[in-house]
């Protein structure tokens, strides 16, 4: 079987800035791969290129075995997407959002109507089935967006900061759900600013800065390689130490 995602020498320029400056990475089936990096590092741009939503300047992308952007439409049939900013349909209820989104996949209504209660349950939104989107909290919207990304039972999930803006309870619920999905054999590509999230979920990660991947490996290997001695005698070294060591302490944007 083809790798869920393979990216080679990807480049994207906006004006005179190369926002993605030649990056390569690949995901193995069943793994969770994290893309970390400061604001403006190029994470979202990379994800959008992979999905065929942004046209790259150079490089090759194969998602679920399909060349992107040439066959992005076909590739997205087997992918679930949680974008950085929620784009739920404000004209519909929670259940209608899932129904209408499922129809974009040409899934028949009977199958969808069977899946929707399970997905709402999964997202902890069973009581919000008929609630208008405008009445949902930020955390509920995020969970509904995750449920929406699962409507087609995807092989690959592409999650852009799935837990940003959520309270600890909601964040833990999403982590638990994502671990369940990994246990089901799904592959996940995610970006995050939470080092704890990356350490818990990701089998491998890449740290991006100014459009380049500056480090890649398992969380443990990155910590061992870059922070041989913990900066504090009171605790072991962690991923946050690695991140700050590699990307510095200055603000980025």
């Amino acid at each position: 079987m083809a790798a869920p995602l393979e990216v080679r020498d990807l480049r994207k320029r906006y004006g005179d800035r190369e926002v993605v400056a030649g990056i390569s990475f690949a995901l193995a089936k069943g793994e969770c791969f994290g893309l970390l990096g400061p604001n403006g590092a190029g994470k979202t741009t990379t994800l959008r290129c992979c999905l065929g939503l942004t046209t790259p300047d150079a490089g090759t992308i194969a998602m679920v075995g399909e060349p992107v952007p040439a066959r992005a439409r076909e590739a997205r049939e087997r992918v679930g997407v949680v974008p950085q900013f929620d784009n739920l349909d404000p004209d519909f209820s929670a259940a209608e959002n899932l129904l209408v989104f499922g129809r974009y996949f040409a899934i028949d209504d009977a199958t969808l109507r069977a899946r929707i209660p399970r997905l709402l349950e999964f997202a902890g939104l069973a009581s919000k089935t008929d609630a208008n989107i405008r009445t949902l909290s930020g955390g509920m919207k995020r969970r509904l967006t995750l449920a929406r990304a699962l409507i087609n039972d995807p092989d690959l999930l592409v999650l852009d900061e799935p837990t940003t803006g959520l309270d600890p309870q909601a964040r833990h619920l999403i982590w638990e759900r994502l671990q369940g999905l990994l246990a089901d054999g799904k592959t996940i590509l995610l970006t995050t600013h939470f080092m704890e999230e990356a350490e818990r979920l990701c089998h491998r990660l890449a740290i991006m800065d100014e459009g380049r991947i500056i480090a890649e490996g398992t969380p443990q290997a990155l910590i061992a390689q870059h922070i041989p001695v913990s900066p504090s005698p009171l605790r072991p070294a962690n991923l946050e130490d690695v991140f700050l060591e590699l990307t510095g302490r200055d603000l980025r944007d």
Partner: protein, 263 residues
């Protein structure tokens, strides 16, 4: 340039159309009534008010009353307005404010499909507007023959012909504020120069030549005779102009929107 590569369309456009229909269904009745009110006010106000000053059965009005003449024009103008409103304000809301198009493209739907769905949705809604007036006009006894049924596909074509340029404006607009220019600089003058309110031969010769290039002129020339129970004089010319406009403008709108959203 690759943004202007040929459209790659698929049946997924139907799901986009259906999404818009589902939203509309929730507010269908007020929406239809709201769309009818404005053209009706003009039609009755001018038709009876102004028409009352004129002798009956003027040859300039196709041998009928002024209100029958105006009614046919109103069907066309109303179709144009509905298609324009839908592709400007409503489509812009979905593209820019609500990010609905972006959400749809998170599924296996290309921008090409989204825009095709929007084009046909706007044309369908415009058809509803035009046909609603047609029904009122028929109830008033102002329609001469079943030939008027042929006006329905002609109204749909008119809807397509005005939805497509609307999508171009939406692709270029930084915000809602710019749509006013499209209406005041393009739609309103065209309404006055296309034979909606008065016959074209009232205009100076130079302006008549301009009129012949306006899409609304062709829509009126196609639809008005049908309501009067006559076959239009050069139907293929009018159909070709409207269809050509729809196709060319859709292609351009798609290229511009690809550049805007997919860059």
């Amino acid at each position: 340039m690759s943004h202007f590569a040929p459209p790659r369309l698929s049946l997924r456009a139907v799901a986009v159309w259906r999404r818009n229909f589902l939203v509309w269904r929730k507010i269908a009745i007020p929406s239809i009534l709201g769309n009818l009110a404005d053209p009706m006010i003009y039609m009755f106000g001018l038709g009876y008010g102004l028409g009352g000053l004129l002798p009956e059965a003027l040859p300039a009005f196709g041998g009928g009353s002024y209100i029958a003449f105006l009614a046919a024009g109103t069907v066309c103008a109303s179709t144009m307005n509905a298609a324009s409103f839908e592709t400007l304000y409503s489509a812009f809301a979905r593209m820019d404010v609500q990010k609905t198009w972006e959400a749809i493209m998170n599924g296996p739907v290309a921008l090409d499909d989204v825009m095709l769905g929007e084009l046909f949705w706007a044309a369908a809604k415009a058809t509803l507007s035009g046909v609603a007036i047609l029904i009122v006009v028929a109830l008033l006894g102002l329609v001469q023959s079943p030939l008027a049924l042929w006006a329905i596909p002609a109204i749909f074509l008119t809807g397509l012909a005005f939805a497509a340029p609307g999508l171009i404006v939406t692709a270029l607009a930084p915000s809602y504020d710019y749509f006013m220019y499209y209406f005041t600089l393009f739609v309103t003058p065209m309404t006055l120069l296309s034979g909606v309110f008065f016959p074209l031969d009232q205009l100076p010769a130079g302006i008549q030549a301009v009129s012949q290039m306006l899409p609304l002129t062709h829509a009126v020339a196609l639809i008005r005779p049908l309501l009067f129970g006559q076959v239009p004089e050069t139907p293929l010319l009018h159909i070709a102009v409207l269809a050509g406009l729809a196709l060319a403008c859709f292609w351009i709108a798609l290229g511009l929107t690809r550049r805007r959203l997919l860059s």
